[in-house]
Symmetry: C2
Subunit: 363 residues, 2 copies
């Protein structure tokens, strides 16, 4: 790591490798020409590898929230009865967006720091045998709580023919969440988290079941699946894509493929363990419950009488490292550290060392 | 111009200056921190200069079509009676998007190559005194037809208290279309046309009247004006922005400001004249009617028995210049040349010389 370069330890955007940044400089090309068609094909194949899917993947020029908009507006109608899970800010946004469609929503919510368990979903499905869609955030970026029982939850939904929508924005590519094996119909992620690409792109994989369901839906806008499918045939996106970011993405995804997904997952896991061991050593409590602890977003309670913003500012000013405060009600109560993308032992060591100095200097 | 570099003469994306491309390489920063707040402020001020407005400008990470989605979903309800003008592909998209909202639409359409006149609008407004919104594409990118009577049309709408939505995606920053002076309530453009920035950003200026109207609308998604306004107070965007593109934008807009808007408009106009003089000399008919000829998108009929794709391919392969075919039904009948952004006499000369050789070699 170049000592003069800022270390980005946010829960997104993350550090981006030099050659990925460099790739954005390639001259702008015609997004309706052969060069683009090749780029599109390459990216689709690489994304399918990372998503672990054979499904179509929509390439959206938007943030992850755009991906959520795509998922909600293309696959949910007023007639649906949707089980919507919420354990924090992003679960809440997903729930509210579904509500805005006018669908009936059954909300499963948990306290901040807690997560959704398979038993919660089982109970709700039993009471609502007419539920048609289940929507859940796999890794809640605002609290660092992860739905580790996702496999069981997907099985429960699939056994009842329920369409599954999973927001894996802050986890996909860092944690093993195999789309096809788990039976995720609509799987959302963004460029600026575990994929270690700059922000501005969202990706949504869509199963054939979901495509079938979309046939009854009239959308016609920026996030219209039918337009994305139509242009996919031509190896194009329906609307002008954010070209420089696609160049960057290709390089970033190739790095993941070269390392191998299993190695990438292992590296993320080891780095998360290092962070949690450090927290333990420093007597910093982890915010999420033990069974909910995320690998990609490390959320720690600040020491008593220390504000999160103080730590965040000192980390930036004195150590040139960006970490994040809490979200909403947790704003001054927790710090959040991204453990994503090109994370490695050296980066973790630099971060924990700086954090140790920072906390000792404040307390 | 570097001879080895591809010349992008598409009606978007356009050529992007080296330092604008270079700017994307700046390290990713925290989009919730002070550095971003400064960048946001700078960009807002520069955009207001280019839009010629005092209004709020929404900074969207999306293509221009996302800007249209923002305009339609935030300011039109089922209860509205909308005059929607269409003279080509983008007018049609605007019309269809409005239809999908469920609003009553009065469509003014013209043949391809023709444009909307003030008298057309006057007639429709007289017959529909209860119309509430007028939506129009100022410069139809698919045909190269421009609404030169826009001033009169805006006056007609404003005199009846009609909310005005104008899509200036392929013209703003290249042609004088002063938002406030014309009374445009909702004004849409994109990064990759006259602003000479890479694709991936859309900008929409919103008048206070439009903000007032939005109060009755529940949106809650990626294009929710209320969220953009709320985060504007903090000098932030509600969702993770496409950071590299914002760095590029700042440089691109600064170039426009340094040159001065009037000089930029004059440069575009002179270059367009050069293209039309060349067409005349070569006996290539311009596709749009004389009173509709665009400054920023030069659309010429191909010589009899010559396909557009032949010209386009030869231009790319033999001259390293990208121009575009027609759109939809015009696909093989016209060529379209972008006269936008960092266009200058040298670039026009290189392009027309190559085009002359190409056409003579085919005929």
């Amino acid at each position: 790591m170049n000592k003069n370069k800022r270390l980005i330890m946010l829960p997104g955007p993350t550090n981006v490798a030099e050659d990925v940044l460099e790739a954005m400089k390639y001259s702008v090309i015609n997004h309706r020409g052969n060069e683009f068609h090749e780029l599109y094909d390459e990216i689709q194949e690489l994304l399918r590898y990372v998503f672990q899917t054979e499904n179509f993947i929509a390439l959206l020029s938007s943030s992850g929230t755009g991906g959520v908009e795509f998922a909600v507006t293309n696959f949910i109608t007023k007639k649906d009865k949707v089980i919507a899970c919420s354990t924090g800010e992003f679960g809440e946004r997903l729930f509210e967006r579904i509500n805005a469609i006018g669908a009936e929503t059954i909300k499963i919510s948990k306290d901040l720091g807690d997560t959704i368990r398979a038993s919660d979903v089982e109970e709700v499905i039993e009471k609502n045998p007419d539920a048609t869609v289940l929507a859940i955030v796999f890794n809640e970026t605002s609290t660092g709580a992860c739905v580790w029982e996702i496999k069981k939850i997907m099985e429960l939904a699939k056994s009842k023919g329920i369409l599954t929508i999973v927001d894996s924005v802050s986890a996909l590519g860092g944690v093993d969440i195999p789309t096809d094996k788990l039976g995720i119909d609509v799987h959302i992620t963004g460029s600026q988290k575990c994929l270690a690409c700059p922000p501005g792109l969202a990706f949504v994989s869509v199963s054939n079941e979901a495509i079938k369901k979309n046939k009854e839906i009239h959308n016609n806008g920026y996030f219209d699946l039918k337009a994305y499918l139509r242009f996919h045939e031509k190896k194009e996106t329906p609307f002008t894509p954010a070209l420089p970011l696609l160049y960057a993405l290709k390089i970033a995804l190739n790095k993941i493929k070269e390392e191998g997904l299993d190695n990438v997952f292992l590296r993320h896991k080891k780095c998360a363990e290092m962070f949690y061991n450090f927290a333990n050593k420093m007597s910093l409590e982890t915010f999420p419950k033990e069974y909910a602890k995320s690998i990609t977003v490390i959320t720690l309670k600040t020491p008593p009488s220390v504000k999160s913003s103080e730590i965040v500012e000192k980390m930036r000013k004195e150590h040139n490292i960006e970490i994040a405060k809490g979200f909403g009600p947790l704003s001054e109560k927790v710090i959040r550290i991204g453990c994503m993308g090109i994370i490695n032992e050296e980066i973790v060591n630099i971060t924990t060392k700086a954090l140790e100095q920072t906390i000792l200097s404040i307390e």
